[in-house]
Symmetry: C2
Subunit: 440 residues, 2 copies
């Protein structure tokens, strides 16, 4: 009989506990499929006594996860502590330095130190695997690393944060405000007490940085990502999107352009008919556009104990089967230096909602500034305010109205310049709302 792969689990939150439970439940099937049993031998967490529905006495207990990472009875360390430094980083670094394989779900750590850790793992000849770090239970890392060798990827984009998609779905379906939906999400446990990290797009950016590296064979470069969250999206924007044939999703998008690899996270209008537009609630989805396969979309759970554990266990199983691949798909020395495409050079369609005074020549003034920047308009819609107000002899209320523009492909810099002029001329009474459009 082949020796079992001895696993140490550092961090026993929802995911860690699920990993321990499922490894026990799938014991025989895993041994048959991997040709080798997998055994949890050690665990570590902040509190030993917390009830997790697990019988911890079977496993060696470590107060300090770095001690677990050094243990002679562990071949493979599962890091589920979280955070981009501190204990998580120390545990991963110690494990690699001790010649142990590492599986982690820690996107923040990978976004910040992924390349360094991959180099260290490569030097020690151990695995650094992170299927669970992007899009939870969806096998997108394996797909990018092992299923698309025959392809040059053009673009990868996805709904990578369930909290944001839950909020946007409810705002759209029930006409509620961002604040109302956020409160509900918090009550249901879909959003943290401090939701900034999710709703402002940082979590999506961490995940995107990992997908970008795998998709384009570039060194991970999370700092280059343009990040914009969903907190400014108004119910009116979702209503307008609907009328124009779109839905608004918080997307992470990475795209190879002529100026380099563009990485951006922002609320995005996607055509209602696209696969990704159908994804509602906390579900995640990733679409990969590539030359041979054209379009591939993977939809599944982005979070949750069991679903994330499913991804962690796939990584453990690969290690047990003896399959050790370069963490980012090729040797770190062969990863390209990222050539950052600045957001100012982004080209695409734009939805622009202006709040304009209800007086003559405002629309003309707006359209002129757009034309001066060579921006072509696909549509222009003026929405009268619902607020009842006395009207002048022309039937105008004097109350501000919404002027919605949809542009054909234009440069971000041109849009920004036109909007600056529109604001300077007093043609808008509130900061313009801008949502980028992502076409199929």
């Amino acid at each position: 009989m082949i020796e079992p792969l001895r696993v140490g689990v550092a961090g026993l939150g929802t995911v860690g506990a699920a990993v321990v439970r499922i490894l026990a439940r799938q014991d025989n099937a895993l041994a048959e499929r991997c040709g080798r049993p997998i055994r949890v031998t050690a665990v570590s967490a902040r509190e030993r006594k917390k009830d997790r529905g697990l019988e911890l006495s079977r496993y060696a207990w470590f107060e300090d996860a770095t001690e677990l990472a050094r243990s002679r009875d562990v071949d493979c360390v599962i890091e589920l502590i979280g955070g981009s430094d501190g204990a998580a980083n120390a545990t991963v670094e110690t494990a690699i330095a001790s010649g142990k394989h590492v599986v982690t779900a820690n996107k923040a750590l990978l976004a910040a130190r992924g390349l360094r850790l991959a180099r260290a793992a490569e030097e020690r000849g151990v695995a650094l695997s992170f299927e669970a770090a992007a899009a939870g239970g969806i096998p997108v890392i394996k797909t990018l690393r092992e299923a698309l060798h025959g392809n040059a990827v053009w673009r990868i984009y996805g709904i990578l944060n369930g909290t944001c998609n839950y909020i946007l779905s409810r705002m759209e379906q029930e006409g509620l405000s961002f604040a109302e939906c956020l409160t509900d999400a918090q009550r249901l446990g879909y959003a943290e007490a401090d939701p900034t990290f999710d709703v402002e797009g940082f979590d999506t950016a961490h995940k995107l940085s990992i997908l970008t590296s795998l998709a384009f064979g570039t060194e991970i470069d999370a700092e280059a990502i343009y990040v914009e969250g969903i907190s400014k999206i108004a119910p009116l924007d979702l209503k307008m999107a609907d009328e124009l044939g779109y839905r608004i999703k918080l997307l992470g998008v990475a795209e190879r352009t002529k100026s380099g690899v563009e990485q951006r996270v922002h609320p995005t209008m996607v055509p209602k008919s696209s696969s990704i537009a159908q994804v509602m609630g906390v579900t995640n989805a990733v679409t990969i556009d590539a030359d041979a396969v054209r379009e591939l979309t993977l939809i599944g759970p982005g979070a949750g104990g069991d679903a994330t554990a499913s991804a962690v266990i796939a990584d453990i199983a690969d290690i047990a089967s003896g399959t050790i691949r370069p963490p980012f798909g090729r040797p770190t020395a062969r990863l390209e230096k990222p050539q950052r495409a600045p957001m100012q050079r982004h080209e695409g369609g734009y939805y622009i909602r202006l709040t304009v005074p209800d007086r003559p020549r405002v629309a003309a003034g707006v359209a002129t500034h757009m034309g001066d920047e060579d921006i072509s308009l696909e549509s222009i819609v003026q929405k009268r305010s619902d607020v009842a107000a006395t009207k002048d002899r022309h039937g105008r209320s004097g109350a501000p109205v919404s002027l919605v523009l949809v542009t054909y492909a234009a440069a971000e810099s041109a849009i920004r310049s036109a909007l600056d002029k529109i604001e300077r001329d007093g043609l808008t009474s509130e900061p313009p709302q801008v949502v980028r459009i992502e076409r199929e």
Copy 2:
């Protein structure tokens, strides 16, 4: 430098030519990612001189593919000849017997002889890989084999035939008949001159048999599959489905039930809100329901030279990287004997469309027979015929009308028995139309 993996391509149709072309184009990237170059050294096809846009003089030419399979200059044979026996089978058997790895896209061959070939490959310690054999460019084989170790699969279902999905999509969107859409599909090259294999569900069944084996760890058992095609679906059924909140798709479904593994291919009503219902045209999709990951859906191209080649090349790359896995996910001796769940025991919702005479007590008679079989009805809709006809003093035309029933979960045997009685009593003037409903 490590020796290259020497590849022989048997069959130079659209897929074979794309494989040769893409292997050349992705030459460097493949070597970096696999840690070893991949070189096409030999090819075989029926006609040497046909213009395929390839410079064949670079490769050793074999009239006979089994000679290629024996060649000392080939490490890995790509079988793209097609067909469940004859040259394809001889080539694969010869390659394995000669100690060469095999990659094939041949679902018919695998459905008929997959287990035997897997055993042979296992004995010789070579790979038998077939990512391209089900759902074309979608990495569903890799997902089932390598990404779901922590899961027990409950059900797998999918749109596995682009021809059928194209026909059903157009019938639905344009209200056309099956025959009209088939003619168009043939004209556009989406359907063969003899379309039986696709439209009657046999192609879907072959692919399903492969997915079933991987999903449930059972020996491949294509003969057990209940198969029903789409040729009897009428525009009225698609219209009724739409009104009831469903779409009709030809699905392959495999499900673990208490009587065993159920495998079936038939037109199926799926809720419009499901991911799979959104899949239109020639695109394929597979949904996997499993205990840890819950629901995972993969959507992508099911056919086409480049997309299928993408899957073939993923298999070749795994072999070049030194990753050889059991073809059906575990050693053949550990595959369970299939326990066939007979179709009569199938339980689910049913859509039944009866053509009934427009006279009193017909609906009552139909409902009574249903009730006698313990079948509960979720809805019952009577549609008056559009045919203008003279009406009697009650306003009845005497022309037959459509009576549509939707049942709650019921057994296939009960449905069949009720329908027999309804026909025997002369309550219907045409054979009943039955479409099974698949709920999420």
